[in-house]
């Protein structure tokens, strides 16, 4: 077993009463990595987390931690610790005793318990609150106690089950910053379960997107965002216009990845794909017309596909003249002013509705309802999905 | 893990089997036995005890029990509704205090409760002596040891069982519903008739069942307040067991009683489902 991973999950599956909740899941977390497990509720991410913690045992597959398959080892014998969704702080124990609990269970000598619990409370900036009871703390402080209680055991991997769910919006943003900084400082690997794509994008080094018990895609936040593998990922991570269509024509010539404009979806896709080469394709998109795009996958002419187009990749203009390859005319249906951004809902001649997002600037005109506009985007900015 | 489960669950389950299911089972068994010469039980299988019940004397007791229970229930509703509604409209603190005040007599021993009335209403008790001295009454009010006193005892004892469920369902009524009804031109009476009363039905039904079901089992209230002159089912059962020592008949009476109460409960559940 390699020393470079905190945990290696191999082909695990789990079902309850005949319903498969986790299916052939396979991934690993590198040492010191912040790994997010992202998916909607009911996708199996919590079950997966509980199997790694040792509260559930997989029906098949293995979980390797520190060179040992722990798939059937109970929670109290695993070198991983958990921050529970609502923290599950022991209400009858003080903050200090909560933090010291794990050490006491392992019969660590008293002076060392004192030193380590004090240290870890210092790390989470709760040094003076040791004698308090959990009920006397604010939500943010409770979360820090939960972190301290887990981290004091120096786990190989820290599991966090939607730790922000119990906090209100404003506090959540502060705690995100703090959590990221803390992880950086102590260097422990984090497995962070969330259904909030923004949280995952902001915090994680890598994200695994789960749907219906399977991991659909694993990658760095930017990769997941720029080149989602499926329509589900495109829709779940960020907002996307998903357009149905058919491959009309495939260019035989390969395009070197290096020649693609940097920062485009196609460039990100080719960076992720093993084959660095891309191919130009033309699609017949329902309600839009003929569209040019790039793909690294071997689509054949006639194949049904979905085109994913991020709202912020679409340029909105009143002039037809443009160097961008794709262009379609539309009527503004609604303009939503959001301070830094403006969101438009626009309707094509075919009746199809698209979302467009532009940056607000006082010197640029805001389009009004009923305005005729042209939508334009580079071929490299759309993603072709099976 | 399953061994721990067995170790934990076996003692209470055994206890309930021996000291709960067995005694109740014995009532059924004994009801079909015959009475021994000096009391006691002659084991046999007969329905004599049940047949004996169809004597006008005993049927009359059952009818009287049901009538007294029904009348007490109605009186509890009439007495309990205004105060429940008033409680439901108090502030949070006021509601807590009132619930406590209603609970206190509930937690008072039944004998203490009854004695309090016997003492108050006795021919030389504080009520009569005060009324006589102040000239309010010419002759002492002789309520004690009449059927009115029995009814009073029942209503007094059962009132918390009516007020608490009633208050609980009234308290849940969204106060803006009443304002909405007012806004739509309802008069006070119409608000009560069309909004409050229908919405308080669960509490009304629950309270009525509780009151109705517990009265036939009580033999102390008729005994003390009525001076043993007005026997209900509870008294009949008690006499058969402790005085006449006809246990089979007493058991049969108990089972008949349970059936009557069970029928009442069933009616209540039917109501709940349709509500």
């Amino acid at each position: 077993m390699s020393e470079q991973f905190s945990v290696e999950v191999k082909e695990i599956s789990k079902s309850f009463h005949g319903v498969t909740v986790v299916r052939d899941v396979d991934f690993d977390i590198r040492k010191g990595e912040f790994f997010a497990l992202l998916g909607p509720s009911g996708c199996g991410k919590t079950t997966l987390l509980r199997m790694i913690a040792g509260f559930e045992y997989p029906d098949k597959g293995s979980i390797w931690i520190r060179g040992r398959d722990v798939a059937s080892v109970p929670a109290n014998d695993r070198p991983v610790n958990m921050v529970f969704q609502h923290y599950a702080l022991f209400p009858h124990l003080s903050v200090f005793e909560n933090a010291a609990f794990g050490l006491r269970m392992r019969r660590v000598p008293e002076p060392e318990v004192r030193r380590r619990a004090d240290d870890v409370l210092g790390v989470v900036q709760l040094k003076d609150l040791g004698p308090r009871m959990p009920a006397e703390l604010s939500g943010g402080q409770q979360q820090r106690v939960a972190l301290a209680r887990a981290l004091v055991n120096q786990p190989e991997l820290l599991l966090l089950d939607e730790p922000m769910a119990a906090l209100d919006e404003k506090l959540r943003e502060d705690m995100r910053e703090e959590l990221k900084a803390l992880q950086h400082r102590i260097g422990v690997s984090f497995l962070y379960v969330t259904h909030d794509q923004e949280e995952a994008l902001e915090l994680a080094d890598r994200i695994a997107v789960m749907e219906k018990g399977r991991i659909i895609q694993i990658g760095a936040p930017q990769e997941i965002y720029e080149s989602p593998k499926t329509a589900f990922v495109a829709d779940f991570v960020g907002v996307s216009n998903l357009l149905k269509g058919k491959v009309a024509e495939v260019e035989q010539l390969l395009v070197e990845a290096a020649s693609l404009p940097p920062g485009t979806a196609a460039a990100a896709a080719s960076a992720q794909a093993s084959s660095a080469a891309m191919r130009r394709v033309w699609l017949e998109v329902e309600g839009v017309g003929r569209i040019e795009a790039f793909t690294g996958d071997g689509f054949q002419a006639g194949e049904a596909v979905t085109l994913s187009l991020r709202p912020e990749r679409i340029h909105l203009s009143t002039s037809q003249v443009s160097e961008l390859e794709n262009r379609v005319s539309a009527i503004v249906q609604r303009a939503i002013f959001l301070g830094s951004d403006i969101h438009y809902h626009v309707r094509l001649a075919s009746g199809l509705l698209l979302r467009v997002q532009t940056i607000y600037s006082p010197i640029r005109r805001v389009r009004k309802e009923g305005d005729r506009v042209y939508l334009m985007w580079r071929s490299e900015d759309a993603t072709v999905l099976a | 893990m399953t061994r721990l489960k067995a170790r934990l669950s076996l003692p209470p389950l055994l206890w309930l089997a021996v000291f709960y299911a067995l005694p109740l089972g014995l009532i059924i068994l004994v009801s079909s036995a015959a009475r021994g010469t000096y009391g006691g039980i002659l084991w046999s299988l007969s329905f004599k005890s049940y047949l004996r019940f169809f004597d006008p004397l005993y049927l009359g007791v059952l009818a009287r029990s049901i009538a007294v229970a029904a009348l007490s229930t109605v009186l509890c509703v009439l007495l309990g509704f205004p105060i429940s509604w008033w409680m439901a409209r108090l502030g949070k603190r006021g509601q807590q205090i009132m619930v406590l005040l209603i609970l206190i007599p509930f937690w008072t021993n039944v004998l203490v409760r009854l004695y309090a009335w016997m003492f108050l209403l006795g021919s030389s008790g504080p009520f009569n002596s005060l009324a006589l001295r102040s000239g309010l009454l010419r002759a002492p009010l002789e309520v004690l040891y009449t059927w009115k006193a029995v009814l009073l005892g029942f209503v007094y004892g059962q009132l918390p069982f009516m007020i608490l469920p009633l208050y609980a369902s009234l308290e849940k009524i969204d106060k803006s519903l009443i304002e909405a009804a007012r806004d739509l031109y309802a008069s006070s009476w119409q608000v009560f008739r069309r909004v409050i009363l229908p919405l308080s039905k669960p509490g009304l039904v629950a309270g009525s069942v509780l009151v109705f079901a517990s009265i036939p089992c009580d033999f102390v209230t008729p005994d003390l307040m009525g001076g043993s002159k007005y026997a209900l089912m509870g008294n009949l059962i008690q006499q058969q067991y402790l005085v006449v020592r006809d246990w089979p008949f007493g058991s049969a009476l108990s089972l008949i009683q349970m059936l009557v109460i069970g029928a009442g409960l069933l009616l209540y559940l039917r109501q709940e489902q349709s509500a």
């Binding site: 913690a53 040792g54 509260f55 929670a75 109290n76 958990m82 529970f84 969704q85 599950a88 022991f90 209400p91 009858h92 609990f101 794990g102 269970m105 209680r149 887990a150 055991n153 | 489960k5 934990l8 669950s9 003692p11 209470p12 389950l13 206890w15 309930l16 000291f19 709960y20 067995l22 005694p23 109740l24 009532i27 004994v30 006691g40 039980i41 205004p82 008033w86 502030g91 005040l101 209603i102 007599p105 937690w107 008072t108 021993n109 203490v112 004695y115 309090a116 016997m118 003492f119 108050l120 030389s124 008790g125 504080p126 002596s129 009132l159 079901a213 033999f219 059962i237 067991y241 058991s251």
Partner: protein, 261 residues
């Protein structure tokens, strides 16, 4: 949350009802401190009826019996109820509602039926047991109430607390001992007090099962009520009333405390 016009009639009716509820109890208590031997006339404050009550050996014996039966049945029923509640809540059961109904049913069955059942039980299987018969009866009477109290607390306890303890290295037994048990303690104590109060209060089972040697306080009061009404009964009733209130208040206080956790 006062709203609309204060309906004076409603408040008046409610206060009248309250007076109806409290007038008898208050007059009973007040006149227990009356110096006069005659019920109705107030002649001055005195504790003579309390003194006379304490000097009454029958009454002392009945009190002792009640306390013994209350304490013993409280301990037994609490132990059994705690076992039953933990077993049902913390382990998987097929047909759990059926088992719960089994525990709960004694509350629904009228007390008179249970009293009758015990009378038959102790006559069909006769044994010289004296107070023990009462203890057995009261334990059954208390069991479902204590079970409900402890179960309510267990249901409110986050099962993740035990998981968190195991995540931090505790064994299952250790997690129960260190986390669940301390958090359950107020409910267990509150349940025990409630059981004591119910036992002290019980008349029906005691009346059917007790004999001359095992008269409890309510049974003793009943015999007094049937034969002689003296101010001493006021004193005794007041004492029983106060004892019940104290027990119940303490039990509620303990449960109120757990609500804050």
């Amino acid at each position: 949350m006062k709203r609309g016009k204060p309906t004076g009639a409603l408040a008046l009716a409610s206060l009248a009802t309250l007076a109806f509820i409290y007038l008898p109890l208050l007059s009973l208590i007040v006149f227990s401190f009356n110096a006069s031997k005659f019920n109705a006339r107030w002649t001055g404050l005195s504790l003579r009826w309390y003194v006379q009550m304490l000097g009454n050996s029958d009454m002392r014996q009945a009190t002792l019996n009640s306390v013994i039966v209350g304490a013993a049945s409280s301990v037994f029923s609490t132990a059994l109820a705690a076992m039953g509640a933990v077993a049902l809540e913390r382990f998987p059961w097929r047909r759990k509602p059926m088992w719960e109904a089994f525990f709960f049913l004694p509350v629904v069955i009228p007390e008179l039926m249970m009293a009758v059942g015990f009378l038959l039980l102790f006559n069909v299987f006769p044994a010289e047991m004296g107070l023990a018969k009462l203890i057995l009866g009261h334990t059954t009477l208390n069991l479902p109430i204590v079970w409900l109290i402890i179960r309510a607390r267990l249901k409110k306890l986050d099962p993740r607390l035990e998981e968190a303890a195991m995540d931090l290295g505790a064994t299952r037994a250790m997690a129960f001992y260190k986390i669940t048990l301390p958090l359950l303690a107020p409910a267990v104590l509150g349940g025990a007090l409630m059981a004591f109060a119910i036992s002290l209060d019980d008349f029906f089972i005691s009346f059917f099962v007790s004999d001359f040697q095992s008269v409890t306080l309510p049974v003793y009061i009943y015999s007094l009520l049937r034969f002689n009404l003296s101010p001493e009964v006021n004193a005794l009733s007041t004492a029983l009333f106060v004892a019940s209130m104290l027990l119940v208040a303490l039990a509620f206080l303990l449960q109120g405390k757990e609500a804050h956790v």
